[in-house]
């Protein structure tokens, strides 16, 4: 997005019909409590409640945070188990190093912060103090990808790329409240380190309509379709399911494969679905186009000799704009509607082989 700090925006009073596509201009909500759309069903703090319940049975679980307990839903755990809650201060390197120390002594620390701080600020501590030693620290991070309009300081557009590259790390990106709840006991039971992206506050609830059951390491086909296979992760699975209805009105029949475990990748299921002939494969993720699920799937397909027409819905390789989240999701093409538009264009392009498509 081109912008100049020397060009003054239109005054609101002059603006009339608004900025982007004639819509009224929205305001950035600094630290939004929910990414839920209007009228969407939600559940409050699923991570905090699930962890508090699990910890009642597992005394070795401790909760640790770096001044973001209230903003990662860990305050629910803190209230239920105050003696097992460790406020480490606004010090993410300390948070993860100390979590490693606790894990050495037999505890299972759930360490929470924002995705940007765990990955960009404390990467070496995850790599060396935790992962190199295979310690069972569960790093649970709010504001993954583009889930705040605050600007690049808080937008973790590259966290999956960083975490995928770390040997021995399990990386998951749950879609909704149901999946977060189901994931908590499974990641606690997993013997090694886990990085889990978190939606917090009032978290959308959607997968219960699909009889969904989270299984660590497994991709799940949520619906079948004959024209396009959407392979999606995290909140982009919600967007993919919304896009299905838009696509349907364009007479496009879309399948949705939800891949919440980014690493290790469920190669078998992905290959099986991608190998079905005649479907374009579109990988959708709330992440930079570099190094996330899209490139993971592309590499897998090429290595396996499976070569469908392949496209990615992802964030651009840019420092992202500040602004209201719905504006930004629309601008960067990761809203359900924007995604459906893009896919429709791609599919119509495919009918004319010589026409170049992005």
């Amino acid at each position: 997005m081109k912008r100049s700090k020397y060009v003054r925006p239109k005054r609101v009073a002059e603006q009339g019909e608004g900025s982007e596509e004639g819509k009224p201009r929205l305001t950035t909500s600094a630290m939004i409590a929910s990414i839920a759309g209007e009228g969407q069903r939600t559940k409050a703090a699923p991570f905090g409640h699930a962890l508090a319940a699990l910890a009642a049975e597992r005394p070795e679980i401790v909760g640790m945070t770096a001044d973001l307990g209230k903003y990662t839903d860990l305050h629910i755990f803190a209230k239920a188990h105050p003696d097992r809650y460790y406020q480490m201060g606004m010090a993410e390197q300390l948070l993860l190093a100390a979590a490693a120390g606790m894990a050495h002594e037999g505890f299972i620390p759930f360490a929470t912060t924002y995705a940007v701080f765990a990955t960009r600020r404390a990467y070496d501590f995850m790599h060396q103090a935790i992962s190199e030693e295979g310690l069972p620290v569960k790093i649970v991070v709010a504001l993954p990808g583009l889930t705040t309009g605050y600007g690049p300081s808080h937008q973790a557009a590259e966290d999956l790329a960083l975490m995928r590259a770390m040997p021995g790390m399990t990386v998951i990106d749950p879609c909704d409240a149901l999946e977060i709840e189901q994931a908590v006991p499974q990641i606690a039971a997993h013997p090694g380190p886990v990085y889990m992206r978190l939606l917090r506050g009032q978290v959308p609830l959607m997968l219960d309509e699909y009889n969904y059951q989270f299984e660590l390491g497994k991709a799940k086909l949520l619906r079948d379709g004959s024209d396009v296979l959407l392979i999606s992760t995290g909140l982009m699975t919600m967007r993919a399911l919304e896009a299905v209805d838009w696509l349907k009105s364009n007479k496009i029949d879309a399948a949705v494969l939800h891949v919440s475990t980014i690493k290790p990748l469920d190669e078998q299921t992905i290959l099986k679905e991608a190998a079905k002939s005649g479907r374009m494969v579109v990988v959708a993720e709330n992440h930079s186009i570099i190094g996330g699920l899209g490139e993971a799937v592309a590499g897998l397909l090429l290595r396996s000799g499976v070569t469908p027409v392949f496209r990615q819905v992802a964030l651009p390789d840019e420092y992202l704009d500040a602004g209201a989240l719905p504006t930004l999701h629309e601008r960067y093409g990761i809203s359900g509607e924007a995604m459906a538009r893009t896919i429709t264009t791609w599919l119509s392009g495919r009918l004319v082989p010589k026409r170049a498509v992005a």
Partner: protein, 290 residues
């Protein structure tokens, strides 16, 4: 009933025997380190020689452990943050009987359990993977919190180099350890005054170090790190609890014990010629016998 004088006399004799014994341990730690350096013709030998006295007091005066069961839960933990000092720790692990002496010759070789930089998955008795400098104090905060949680009486010792004081986590951990009143925490800071690019305080001045740790709420002692009696007194003073983490700032001499290396041009990685390893061992032995 022995008289009070006789008891004092007995204590004095015991003290002398212990001191002699610790000197002997320190000598053997230096000897083991030189022998490892000789195998590879390289190694962080100056650092190892410098901290041998600290390690002798830690492993043969202060710490509880079982040589045949290095993971015994009642042990005191020793975290080597400055991973390149591994040659010194291997030397003491051999002396303590945790690593067999005949593995000394494999130091730094392919498939050895004694890699150049200390890593937990390679070596018995190595608690953490160090080497990415500035991690140890932060990891120790977690160890100490966990041990308190388990109501364990074990102490956590961390060997830390003065160069690591440049790293940000050092000071996060310094604040945290006193915030949580971790009096089971004993930081051993080796001030050998040399880091990769030169004299430590010229690279980044960390002095006055005592005053910094005092201001952070620690129990601070500063000793000559090559004076075994002073080290014994300092280690003993960390046993009293008191609700504060302990730091023993140890001013040490690089290459201590081998005069021609002590006076060699100071560098982070000192050069030792192939024929000098034996010469160093001979000199060390001669000094020890005096």
């Amino acid at each position: 009933m022995p008289t009070q004088n006789a008891m004092l006399e007995a204590t004095k004799v015991a003290d002398e025997q212990r001191t002699v014994s610790l000197h002997e341990r320190a000598y053997r730690i230096r000897r083991n380190a030189l022998a490892m350096g000789a195998v590879q013709g390289q190694g962080y030998i100056a650092q190892a020689l410098g901290v041998a006295d600290i390690l002798a007091v830690a492993y043969f005066h202060a710490m509880r452990y079982r040589a045949t069961d290095p993971e015994w839960d009642g042990r005191d933990r020793f975290l080597l943050s400055n991973g390149h000092f591994a040659i010194a720790l291997y030397a003491v692990l051999i002396e303590a009987g945790i690593v067999p002496e005949d593995e000394l010759e494999t130091y730094g070789m392919d498939d050895s359990r004694l890699p150049m930089s200390g890593m937990a998955s390679y070596t018995p008795g190595m608690e953490i993977s160090g080497g990415s400098l500035g991690h140890g104090l932060g990891i120790a905060v977690g160890y100490c919190l966990a041990l308190k949680r388990k109501q364990s009486k074990s102490f956590v010792y961390v060997m830390y180099s003065d160069g690591e004081l440049d790293e940000g986590l050092t000071w996060e951990a310094a604040m945290s350890a006193s915030h949580w009143k971790l009096d089971n925490f004993v930081a051993l800071i080796d001030v050998n005054k040399m880091q990769a690019d030169g004299v430590s305080t010229e690279v980044l001045n960390f002095e006055p170090l005592d005053a910094k740790f005092e201001a952070f709420g620690w129990h601070v002692q500063r000793v000559d790190g090559n004076d075994i009696n002073a080290l014994v007194t300092a280690f003993d003073a960390t046993r009293s609890g008191g609700g504060k983490p302990h730091v023993i700032i140890c001013d040490t001499k690089l290459a201590k014990g081998v005069p021609f290396l002590e006076t060699r041009e100071k560098a982070h990685f000192i050069r030792v010629e192939p024929d000098e390893w034996q010469k160093a061992l001979d000199l060390l032995e001669a000094t020890a016998q005096r």
